[in-house]
């Protein structure tokens, strides 16, 4: 049986021994930090195919439709609510009523079979997230969902990993805004955000981080 490696591979072998520490560090980083935080793992910035090429940019950005026109229960329930076909047809029975683009919507309306959207923001089943309380305490839509008004096809912008949740639950003052600005996509935090945040935290009775970081706040 001949040699598997050519003689010229010897320096590489030697180098791998010499740099074994560095290689181990890189491997550990990749396995425990790099890969889990990568876009591949947490699915950020990944465009997923949808049954209808629905553009938030057009509806929110160009037409100026409020988030709550479609996501009706965002202020009252854990779920923001997905619009029923009826909501689409409110306008599209008149506008663009014949375009092939909207064939799946009209089809759903005619047949009574719902449109099956692919979920973009998908939390694990052991996490119990409630939209209404975040909206009520001054967390803006864009804080988590990004500039939806500039996304032709929606993608996830935040990692939705626990460290990301805890970043805000430990110090909500870094992110919260006045309630009047929650649905404002273009809202820019003021320079003195921490000051404003602390004031809002008081005004809105936001609970202390000890409560917000208790496990049962999100897991049950």
């Amino acid at each position: 049986m001949g040699q598997i490696f050519h003689r010229s591979a010897n320096p590489i072998a030697r180098a791998s021994i010499l740099f074994s520490g560095a290689i181990a560090v890189v491997a550990v980083y990749a396995i425990f930090i790099g890969i889990p935080r990568s876009s591949y793992w947490n699915q950020t910035d990944i465009i997923k195919t949808q049954p209808v090429q629905f553009s938030h940019k057009h509806h929110v950005g160009d037409d100026g439709i409020d988030c709550r026109y479609c996501h009706t229960s965002v202020e009252t329930s854990s779920s923001a609510g997905m619009p029923p076909t009826k909501t689409c047809m409110n306008c599209h029975s008149q506008l663009w009523a014949t375009t092939t683009y909207l064939e799946p919507v009209r089809n759903s309306w005619k047949t009574g079979i719902p449109i099956k959207w692919t979920r973009i923001h998908d939390l694990p089943d052991y996490v119990y997230f409630n939209h209404s309380i975040h909206i009520n305490k001054g967390v803006g839509c864009a804080t988590c969902h990004g500039r939806v008004d500039q996304m032709p096809l929606i993608t996830q912008v935040a990692s939705l990993q626990m460290e990301w949740c805890l970043d805000c639950h430990r110090a909500p003052e870094k992110y919260i805004r006045p309630r009047s600005q929650v649905f404002n996509m273009a809202y820019a935090p003021p320079e003195k955000q921490i000051e404003l945040g602390l004031q809002l935290k008081k005004d809105y009775h936001v609970l202390g981080s000890d409560v917000l970081t208790s496990c049962s706040t999100c897991h049950r």
Binding site: T76, K86, Y126, N130, C215
Partner: protein, 1044 residues
């Protein structure tokens, strides 16, 4: 079957034994078990008892402090025996472990699988995704109805609560109502219309039956018979009446195997008519229950238990307390809650009742001789009752004889209770009848070939009819049988047509409660299968054979009228769950002089008592795993029935129940019981307080067509039950067989080895020493600062709970409510035998006093939510940690299953998923689960969280309104279901909350408080009010001197 040698007999290979850590001294232990398998005699037990102070014990083995018991309690989760079914050998095990260690870091980093969002086409106005809705409905049962509020998550009913506006519920429910959710989603329910085994459509049935009906009409209905259960639905009754008017030769029979006919017979004799008896326990100072289990199992039990418990709440200002006497022929929950109880064998019961009646001066009372002990009890009770004229109740169990009922009517009249605490009214049932006689008539007519069309609506007589009728053989004479039921059961096998019944949560209907109040039953979901309502089946006999249930019920109540007011009233009735002002007026009646005679003749041999099973009732719930696994009150048996006997009777028959070490299961002797030439084999279960020479058999087991869960469990006690001996038999021959049988009784599971768990006093003792729960110095709670850890200040909420042992009646409703709310799996008998049942809250049953005549106490034990929690410190991955509101949070997704927390828990309230207990695949079970609670997988520890999902939802609602959570806004599942308000939950930081006030009561104590765990759940000591004139079986004990 598990063999006699607990560990050797298990199917485990030597390879698996090598995996066991720690190594068990299996041989030594099994030898020890053999050596000490001779149980203690009563004399030895009495001697042991007499040497210690007031002692509480959970089983005869614990009382005897036997070696097996010691060995058992020394082991946390007793069975370390491997349950790996794959033949994994040591080498491949190590390979697998090596690989899984290497990949451990990556296991947490999974990409979520693709998930879809499917919105509505048109969203119904009231449905908001994520928000549960509640609908009022009612559960018809046992000649009454219980009003319910059912939670619906996105259109799926997921949890049943009581309707506070309904007179039979007042907001609480019981085990059967809770279990209906599982019955609705039971995949074994009958799913298709069947004709001779072929699937047919509803249209086929209508076509065929209408043809047959026109033929029957020409004969005025001769040969047509209906067999139903008790019916309280006014609209269904009207339909029946219409059909019978149309076809006067047709006959209506009724049969419910677990309802007694004595109330009917006695009421005819005493009042010349059918009357319904109603009791006001909230007005009664003295209650005598004659073999009546009024707190458990019937349609009125929730209401009566609540009323009764209201008179039992004591505080430092109480000057009096009600008193409950129970005389009974077997053990019952009501008997366990008695202040004074006497166990009397059935053949001596009627003379005893005669003695009480004679002492009260009732005319016609039979003055037969009774034993001195019974005479003393009778005299003392009569004297006490006479001192509370108009404020007492004598209530009789429906299975007692007409004589006992007649005496009770007469005694209530003599004591002036009628019109004060006892009321009579016209019956709520549509057509009350002597159901035993009715079924016998039907069977005889079938044998005579006089029945040519039999319509069976929701009854299962092939299984439940008395054995002497041989109902199955008689059915073969009937040329045309239609069976309508939830399951394709034993009777369905004999039917030509089978129609699946729509569950009441899928049906429109109506029902009357015990006081006559009408509830409209509304469906929570469209029928999952092809179920039809009873209305829809009966309407095929009328002019409109294809009417829908909704139209029939609405037309009945609105008279077909339409318009604003009618619709508004109808909608209001459906919304409220009760139709206002529909109670039946009560009347004051005087019973005619009693001329009934005792009907049970004493005979040589054993007396037999038949009773419906406490959890699966007459067998209709046999396929409901939640109820099968729920420990039966008092006996704590699961998955089986048994022949219940007293300790003395067991000794007489040389019967043994030997404690095994696999998981504290009992290997018990099997007895052969022969009654009137019919026989059955049954394992024995020894129950303290059971009358001697008497055997209790629970009905409902031994089903053959119940479904995958309920088939072939236990034995069918109905095989020795005849139409003459429906509830009692005398002269039974009993002998021991060489066989043994393992019984999964949970009475010693999760034991805390005494240690002052239950604390109790008599009312007199309590008045003298309000602080009786803190008497013993070694049970004192150390200072809260006595710890290495700094104290944590709870600034916001501090959740806490109190459980009043004085109110707990041991009905186990909290256990099953918790199962339904928290998606707790059923594990099966084999796992219960290993102490692996998953109930987050258990109800411990403690005895005190002599084994022949014990006092019984119940103690529900959920997670105590310790402030200094031993479990939290030992978790290597922080899966259990303390919340800022004082909860011991359990984060399932973090748990790696070391079980250290459970080892360190002194209360034994943590439950481990040893196997994949949850059914992850059956579609209907997915619909059933509470979406607010994680469904746990294998290898995960779980426990009570104070229903944290309810806490969080209430907190979110309150925070949106910028206010604090109001007291009573959060109701845990166990608190909501409790018929006696024994469990109270709330914020102990709010001094005005109910829980904070209860915690300041002198009766408040912490379980194992001396360990300085500072539990958030505390208990209120039990207070009983026994009559000092009644002597107890003498056990010389400190603190029990008045019992001489």
């Amino acid at each position: 079957m598990i063999s006699e040698h607990p560990i050797e007999g298990l199917e485990i290979s030597m390879n698996d034994l090598m995996l066991q850590l720690p190594v068990l001294d299996t041989v030594a232990e099994s030898k020890k078990a053999e050596a000490s398998s001779n149980p203690l005699t009563s004399d030895e037990i009495r001697r042991k008892l007499s040497t210690s102070g007031r002692q509480y014990w959970r089983s005869i083995e614990e009382l005897a402090d036997s070696e097996e018991f010691d060995a058992f309690v020394r082991r946390e989760y007793p069975s370390q025996t491997s349950v790996l079914i794959d033949p994994v050998n040591r080498r491949s095990f190590l390979k697998l472990m090596g690989a899984s260690l290497g990949l451990a870091g990556l296991a947490a980093c999974t990409v979520q699988p693709k998930e879809e969002v499917i919105p509505y086409i048109k969203q119904p106005e009231e449905i908001v995704p994520g928000k549960a809705l509640y609908f009022a409905t009612a559960m018809p049962r046992m000649g009454g109805a219980v009003g319910l509020l059912v939670r619906s998550n996105e259109g799926r009913p997921t949890k049943i609560e009581g309707n506070p506006d309904h007179p039979a519920s007042l907001g609480a429910t019981d085990i059967f109502a809770q279990a209906e959710i599982l019955q609705l989603y039971d995949p074994d329910r009958s799913q298709t219309i069947n004709h001779l085994g072929d699937i047919r459509s509803w249209g086929d049935f209508i076509t065929e039956i209408t043809g047959r009906v026109s033929g029957l009409k020409s004969k005025k209905g001769a040969g047509l018979r209906f067999l139903t259960e008790s019916i309280t639905s006014p609209s269904l009754a009207a339909m029946m009446k219409g059909i019978l008017d149309d076809m006067p030769e047709a006959k209506w029979h009724q049969w419910e195997p677990a309802r007694g006919n004595s109330p009917f017979i006695a009421s005819q004799a005493a009042f010349g008519a059918q009357v319904n008896s109603l009791y006001r326990f909230d007005k009664a100072d003295r209650v005598l229950a004659l073999d009546s289990d009024f707190m458990m199992g019937s349609d009125t039990s929730v209401r009566y238990a609540r009323d009764w418990s209201q008179r039992r709440k004591v505080s430092s200002s109480s000057t009096d307390m009600s008193r409950l006497y129970v005389a009974e022929t077997t053990i019952s929950s009501t008997g366990a809650n008695a202040d004074n109880r006497i166990a009397i064998r059935p053949s001596e019961f009627e003379p005893f009742v005669g003695a009480v009646a004679a002492a009260l001066g009732v005319a016609g009372a039979n003055g037969q001789a009774v034993s001195p002990k019974q005479q003393e009890f009778a005299n003392a009770v009569a004297k006490d009752l006479a001192s509370a004229k108009g404020r007492s109740i004598i209530i009789t169990g429906e299975w007692q004889t007409p004589y006992v009922h007649a005496m009770a009517h007469a005694m209530n009249a003599a004591l002036g209770n009628v019109g004060n605490t006892v009321f009579y009214s016209d019956p709520v049932e549509a057509q009350p009848m002597d159901q035993v006689a009715s079924l016998v008539d039907l069977a005889l007519d079938m044998q005579k070939n006089e029945v040519d069309t039999l319509i069976i609506l929701g009854s299962n007589p092939v299984y439940s009819a008395p054995a002497d009728l041989d109902f199955a053989a008689a059915l073969k004479n009937v040329p045309y049988i239609v069976h309508y039921g939830l399951y394709h059961d034993e009777t369905a096998k004999y039917a030509h047509w089978h129609i699946p019944e729509a569950h009441f949560l899928e049906s429109w209907g109506d029902a009357r409660a015990h006081d006559g109040t009408v509830s409209i039953i509304q469906p929570l979901i469209a029928p999952l299968y092809e179920g039809k309502t009873a209305h829809e089946v009966l309407t095929t006999f009328t002019k409109n054979p294809s009417l829908q249930g909704y139209e029939i019920v609405k037309n009945y109540w609105t008279g077909g009228a339409k318009g604003g007011d009618v619709d508004r009233t109808w909608r209001r009735a459906v919304h409220d769950g009760v139709l206002a002002n529909t109670q039946i007026a009560t009347k004051t009646l005087a019973p005619a002089a009693a001329n009934a005679q005792p009907s049970i003749t004493p005979a040589n041999g054993f007396d037999i008592v038949f009773r419906p099973d406490p959890t699966i009732y007459d067998g209709r719930y046999a396929n409901i795993g939640w109820l099968q696994e729920l420990p039966k009150p008092i006996t704590t048996l699961t998955w089986d029935n048994a022949a219940l006997v007293s300790k003395a009777t067991a000794e007489k028959l040389q019967l043994h129940a030997t404690l095994q070490l696999t998981g504290g299961e009992y290997e018990t002797d099997v007895v052969h019981i022969e009654v009137d030439g019919r026989a059955v084999n049954a394992p024995v279960w020894i129950v303290p307080g059971h009358p001697d020479d008497t055997i209790t058999l629970y009905l409902g087991y031994g089903r053959t067509n119940a479904g995958r869960v309920g088939n072939e469990l236990g034995f069918n006690a109905g095989r020795v039950r005849s139409s003459k001996n429906m509830w009692f038999a005398t002269g039974a021959k009993v002998r021991k067989t060489p066989k043994t049988y393992p019984l999964a009784g949970t009475q010693i599971h999760f034991t805390m080895e005494g240690r002052g768990a239950v604390r109790s006093a008599t009312f007199e003792e309590y008045k003298k020493n309000l602080d009786f729960v803190h008497e013993k110095k070694d049970e004192e709670e150390p200072s809260k600062d006595n710890s290495l850890f700094p104290r944590y200040e709870y600034k916001g909420y501090a959740w806490g709970m109190t459980i009043d042992l004085n109110s707990c009646i041991g009905c186990n409703a909290c256990m099953i409510a918790c199962v339904a709310e928290n998606n707790i799996p059923v594990v099966g008998k084999e796992q219960v035998l290993r102490s692996r049942e998953m109930h987050w809250i258990r109800v411990d049953r403690y005895y005190t006093g002599a084994a022949e005549d014990p006092d019984t106490y119940f103690q529900p034990v959920p997670c105590q939510q310790c402030e200094r929690a031993p479990c939290e410190l030992v978790c290597p991955v922080d899966a259990t940690s303390h919340s800022a509101e004082g909860l011991n949070d359990m984060t399932y997704n973090r748990c790696v299953g070391t079980r250290y927390c459970s080892n360190n828990c002194p209360y034994k309230v943590r439950r481990f998923n040893f196997l994949l207990y949850q059914d992850w695949t059956t579609p209907t079970y997915k619909m059933m689960r509470n979406p607010e609670v994680t469904v746990r997988s294998r290898g995960v520890m779980e426990k009570c969280t104070y229903c944290v999902q309810r806490i969080q939802n209430a907190k979110i609602d309150s925070e949106k309104e910028n206010r604090r959570v109001r007291d009573g806004e959060i109701v845990t599942a166990c608190e909501a279901v409790c018929p006696t308000d024994a469990i109270v939950f709330g914020d102990i930081n709010d001094p005005m909350s109910r829980v904070a006030r209860l915690k300041s009561d002198t009766r408040n104590y912490a379980l194992l408080g001396d360990l300085n765990t500072q539990p958030r759940t505390t208990y209120l000591g039990a207070v009983r009010n026994p009559n000092p004139e009644i002597s107890r079986i003498h056990v010389k004990q400190q603190g029990w001197e008045q019992s001489s």
